[in-house]
Amino acid sequence: MGQSVRLLGIDAGGTYTDAVLINPQNGTVSHKAKALTTPYDLSIGIGNALDLLIIGEETKISLVSISTTLATNSIVEEHGGRVGLILIGYDGDLIKRNSLETRLPVSAFYLINGGHDVKGEVVNPLDIQAAEQAVLELYPLVDAFAVSGYFSVLNPEHEIKVRDIINRHGGKPVVCGHEITNQLDAIKRVATVVLNARLLPVIGQLLDGVRNELQKRSIEAPLMVLKGDGSLVDEKYARLRPVETVLSGPAASAIGAHFLSQLDNAVVVDMGGTTTDIANLEDGLPWTNPSGAIIGSWQTSVRAADLRSIGLGGDSRISVDRGRNLTVGPKRAIPLFRLGESYPHINNEIEAAFHAGVGERHIYPIEFLVKVRKMEDLKLSGVELDIIRSLEDGPKSLTSLEKELNTVLIDTKNLEASGILRRSSLTPTDILWSDLSDIGGNFAAAKAGSRLMADYLGISVMELRERVVGLMVDTITTEIFNKLMHDETHQSLLPAMQPWKYLIDQALNHSCLKAIDVKFILNKPIIAIGAPVGAFLPLVAQQLHTNCIIPPHAEVGNAVGVTVALVSQSVEVLVQPWVKGSGTVRYLIHSVSGREEEYSLARAVKRAEALAVEIARKAAYQAGARNVEIKLEQKKVVLGNLAEVTIRATAKGPPKGLRYKN
């Protein structure tokens, strides 16, 4: 008997890591497995999922593709490498106005003279000396460099010169603005390039780990990574442009939902441990926002499936404020049942807190801190060092930490932001534990935590459960509505003014109005993807008067999407007129490879098309495609006798390892 060829798809989400084997002949899911994600080192969870996946000796894996929420989570949770930023020719007022110096997550920030204008002409010559000095000072302090020049997408020469200076110092990675995007907007661009640089070590570690796990299991196949726009790229490419992998998990779920449900139009809701992502599926593809993805608090220029990502999932932190109002998310926490699995002693502490009676205590019943990562050469305060020392031999509750350190206000913001500590608290998964099958863990901890929280609020455990589910369902329903409203009108429903809030509440069946009835009616179905969806999405669909479809294999929908995606690379080349002094007109061609000049529009467009095709084709092959098809699009703006033309080339094809015609 011959070998059976299979495609392996892996999705490492915030909570679970899923793996599937798909038969390329008929597109059926032949095996699937689910393991816990191991956030401190995703490759361990990936290895565990691979072990659960029965891969027979006669099975030949021809392609491995993965998607992870790693990039997105790292940005949202503010983790990552140390970045040195060099800005070229940015206007000081704009830096101040956008608070770049304080907001950008960089270790150091240098502004040097240089930059171009709207035609790609030099405004100020590049201050080479300042660049050399900046690089010299930054080099020992950072893991990676980000370089962004004003109007660099119209002329990359200054960015390239600075990149060369950095490369002469050694092998630390450098990424420039023009390499990441060809869109104007220096503010978006610098955010994107900084986030990319910050992600380099994070993605590198992941891919090394995955390769290692594959090798251990004798899987020798090309490794591909899913991007946020739903296309695949080769491992090597992903190591340089990790920011493009943001929102890839949700893109995978949209593609997977389409593949599994065979529905072209729907709202796809993917609920994971950390976030719930809402995508608007139109004609089989997730809707992409041309102005770039928003990740955390950042408007970037990354082209990605436009998803509304809510900080709400199975592992959301459930907290109570001083007025004893319950909130779920947006921060993530290690669920108690999960912490209790490795450290059963926490049960005793939760029990003790319950018996002591939380009474009038103004702080939140119980949360634990866990040391999850070694500290690198970060500057820490004395108190921070004390906290770390105290957590050396296992997690401790905030209460006992306060006692031990003899202080009442422990500030662990820095330690949590840098990923050294993580918080563990009651989460929706703890509360729903008994509904979820085979998730393992320490049920006693989940139960004790729920009981403590219910007691603190003066309600029953059942009521607590209803309230938590209700809060989450209301949020998801409103966000679905808000997203669809925004896609069509660019207007947000939220935050709503008080009278509108009443109407929304009424639509959510909270009956606060007597004489008015309001209904939100969604005119397409909801496809629900992800592990805990069963407890929430049918209720959401009910509120929106539509159907909820949970397709077969929905619990591994992302992994399916990853496996069936294609390689696709798009580039834009801009042609614009340039009126020189005495009315002489030239045409400028701006591409990632630099600025060129032609005498006539026709010649310029011809050259631009050739460049676009060449760059897109090369990018697609570099990204791991085979047999690409090229699509050329042209957008022309007539300016009197002149014209501006944008050429867009998209090269699309199946990945190399895929041995069948799609």
Binding site: D93, L94, L184, A186, G583, V637, V638, L639, G640, N641
Partner: protein, 209 residues
């Protein structure tokens, strides 16, 4: 005639000197600056309407606008800053390479007459200057004018420069001038287009009013 009607008539008649005495007298009579402002604005609305239907001609409109400005100069010190910036702040200018002043100034005056604060950057205004103005003056809207087909590309340059500065979403952009069409406005990503002064006022009101 009430004193506000007198003021309105002075503006409509384009009496650039008479208005000074008129406003002074009105203020001495104890009329609030805010009331005077409303009278001036209402008069200009009527001028705009008369011009649109063909009862007034451009030189007359310009005189009315000048009268309005003279009146404004007297009451401005007594207005609070929010009253002075009125309905919103507009920056206007003729783009780089074009020295045509009259049409742009007329539109500027009419927008001002409708109760907006208008800052006129003049003619031959480069993309960089427009960006600088948006940054420092923080207008709600900028209005770009050109009368030449050869300088249309500078309108696009200005919009692209605003994009690069990350300011495009903070300000509305309208364009006008003989060679400009709605199609062109859409193509370069402007928020609006107006074929004449009166419609420019309506467009400004629609976008930021």
């Amino acid at each position: 005639m009430s004193s506000t009607e007198v003021l309105m008539q002075l503006v409509i008649n384009g009496d650039t000197e008479g208005i000074v005495g008129g406003v002074q007298a009105a203020l001495e009579d104890g009329l609030e600056a805010k009331i005077v402002l409303h009278a001036l604005v209402e008069a200009m609305d009527r001028v705009g309407e008369e011009w649109r239907v063909g009862n007034m001609f451009i030189p007359e409109v310009l005189l009315s606008a000048k009268a309005m400005q003279n009146g404004m100069a007297l009451i401005r010190p007594q207005l609070t800053s929010s009253e002075a910036s009125m309905r919103g702040k507009v920056v206007i200018g003729t783009v780089q390479g074009d020295l045509h002043d009259i049409g742009k100034s007329l539109v500027g005056m009419m927008i001002e007459g409708a109760g907006f604060e208008v800052i006129d950057l003049g003619v031959d205004v480069s993309a960089t200057k427009f960006v600088e103005a948006v940054k420092t003056l923080q207008p709600d809207l900028i209005a770009l004018s050109t009368l030449l087909t050869t300088t249309l590309s500078y309108m696009l340059d200005t919009i692209n420069s605003l994009k690069e500065a990350g300011l495009r979403s903070e300000v509305k952009v309208i364009i006008g001038g003989a060679p400009v069409t709605q199609e062109f406005a859409d193509a370069i990503g402007a928020d609006g287009y107006a074929p004449d002064g009166a419609s420019a006022v309506l467009k400004v009101r629609e976008l930021i009013g």
